[in-house]
């Protein structure tokens, strides 16, 4: 494969991925409004299109045409840069996420993934950890106490939970013996005793790891019950209080893109990725894994929304206590036990 074709293929994949991702983001918002609405005995969006399906489009148009207010007291360079940073890092991580097996088009054998690197998971972690800059800088540059408090909370919270998040993944990494997401998924092919899928979540103590990951991921994405940085009741809107129009939309997109990334990573690491029953004609055979993968992401997102509709918000000290005194020791214990299991097995 020459470098030219490589670049062309990569470009196509990137554009495709971005399009799909942004659409998914938009419809995740719709899904959330709809599901939460039903949970709260409301209808959710219904006016625009059937079942309100065109609501995301309408929202987008509205965001675009709203007046872009820049408050006079902000530190302008960073005020403008912050949402860009947030959304850029949120979208970047999709680059290493595989959504399925190889696809052969003519003589080209193309992986369903923008790029396959053998430190894929590390890149996701790195990019996610950089995402905090967007929130923190937004909070600081807005020069408003609500924003600053939100930004401070966000950075402290994300640094704290990143530790547990990272540690919860190490068990899976030890089982797979690789950082490459594709290798990790491949390691989960097959079944235990013929009927239980060989997913990491069923493997030893990885259920706890999954739980830790779930909690840490909620905190990382600033979602309920850990949405302290944007706690409406106390901080107006937290770090994006001073933002409006498209800049606000960027934070919104970043948050939901992060949710999808997190869901994708959870599926890949714990839920067997794209593995599932494959049947039918070749085209179906090629697309079914993608469907299984998307289904998992959907389920994960549904849980996200479900939790949002159910649980109250933590207090900040409870959040920190939970992270440092419960999740972290649990993650370390899981790490030790998994290490022992791996050592005994080999």
């Amino acid at each position: 494969m020459s470098i030219g074709i490589f670049i062309i293929v990569s470009l196509i994949k990137t554009v495709l991925a971005l399009f799909v991702l942004l659409t998914a983001v938009a419809y995740t918002v719709w899904l959330e409004r709809k599901v939460v609405g039903h949970m709260q005995n409301r209808w959710g969006p219904t006016r625009v299109g059937p079942f309100g399906l065109l609501q995301p489009l309408a929202d987008g148009v509205k965001f675009l045409f709203k007046e872009d207010l820049t408050p006079p007291h902000v530190y302008k360079p960073l005020y403008i840069a912050a949402p860009m940073i947030a959304v850029a890092f949120a979208l970047t991580s999709i680059a290493v996420i595989p959504i399925g097996n190889w696809v052969t088009i003519g003589s080209l054998r193309i992986p369903l993934q923008i790029t396959d690197v053998n430190i894929g998971l590390l890149i996701i972690l790195g990019v996610t950890s950089l995402g905090v800059y967007g929130v923190a800088l937004a909070g600081w540059s807005s020069n408003s106490k609500y924003s600053l408090l939100g930004g401070l909370r966000a950075s402290a919270q994300m640094i704290s939970y990143e530790v547990s998040l990272g540690l919860s993944l190490v068990g899976v990494l030890m089982l797979a013996g690789s950082f490459s997401l594709r290798d990790i998924v491949d390691a989960q092919a097959g079944t235990f005793w013929g009927f239980i899928p060989r997913w990491n979540i069923f493997y030893g103590g990885q259920f706890f790891a999954f739980f830790i990951y779930l909690m840490a991921a909620y905190a990382e994405t600033n979602r309920i019950p850990f949405d302290l940085p944007e706690a409406e009741t106390e901080l107006v809107a937290g770090y994006h209080t001073e933002y409006s129009s498209m800049k606000f939309a960027m934070f919104f997109m970043a948050e939901y893109a992060n949710m999808i990334t997190v869901a994708a990573v959870a599926s890949l690491l714990f839920l067997g990725g794209w593995h599932g029953p494959v049947f039918g004609p070749p085209l179906i055979r090629a697309l079914l894994p993608v469907f299984w993968f998307v289904l998992r992401i959907f389920v994960f997102l549904f849980i996200y929304i479900w939790v949002r509709g159910t649980l109250p918000r933590f207090r900040y000290d409870q959040l920190m206590t939970f992270g440092w005194k419960f999740l972290l020791p649990l993650a370390i214990a899981n790490l030790v036990i998994t290490g022992l299991v791996v050592a005994i097995r080999s």
């Binding site: 590390l122 890149i123 800059y133 923190a136 600081w140 600053l148 950075s155 640094i159």
Partner: protein, 172 residues
């Protein structure tokens, strides 16, 4: 060729970030410049094949250490730097000394290292190999640094904890 171009591009970004760090008077700008430097350094590492180092560079340096810096800047609400003239020595001796030292070291590096050409990814530092080395050949230093980190954690907690709050907690 691609290697050289990438090197030059990211090297330029690196140097620009470093110079910007010096030029900016607001610490948060300096911090962000430093993040840029670190990010482009990660790319330089990738070019040399040290992929794991690059990843850790991003996660630890850019993602954790610098976030800590930004956090502290925000916490202390550090303002624009004052241009006080507290030290003539630094300018009269330090800067010339630095210049002389750098020039000398640069000269030695160019003259004496043999200066081989390296291809992209010259020495692949795959996680597996690095891990093997860390847990075999460098086990003792690894453990020692872990103790160092533990001590650092405790030190940071002790230093940063406000004596008044401790008092209140005891009373309450």
């Amino acid at each position: 060729m691609v290697h050289l171009i990438l090197f030059l591009v990211f090297g330029a970004v690196c140097v620009a970030g470093a110079v910007n760090l010096l030029a900016q008077r607001h610490p948060i700008n300096s911090a962000l410049s430093l993040v840029v430097v670190m990010g482009s350094l990660a790319v330089e590492y990738l070019l040399l094949g040290a992929e794991f180092v690059a990843a850790v560079q991003v996660i630890v340096y850019a993602g954790a250490v610098m976030v800590l810096f930004v956090f502290v800047i925000m916490l202390l609400n550090a303002g624009v730097e004052e241009r006080t003239k507290g030290s003539r020595v630094a300018l009269l001796f330090g800067v010339p000394g630095m210049l002389i030292g750098s020039v000398l070291i640069g000269w030695v590096l160019i003259e004496r290292t043999g200066n081989p050409m390296v291809p992209a990814g010259a020495l692949p530092g795959a996680p597996k190999v690095i891990g093997w080395l860390l847990f075999h050949d460098f086990l003792l230093p690894f453990e020692v640094t872990s103790i160092l980190v533990l001590i650092a954690i405790m030190g940071a907690v002790v230093l940063a904890s406000h004596p008044d709050t401790e008092q209140k907690e005891k009373e309450g």
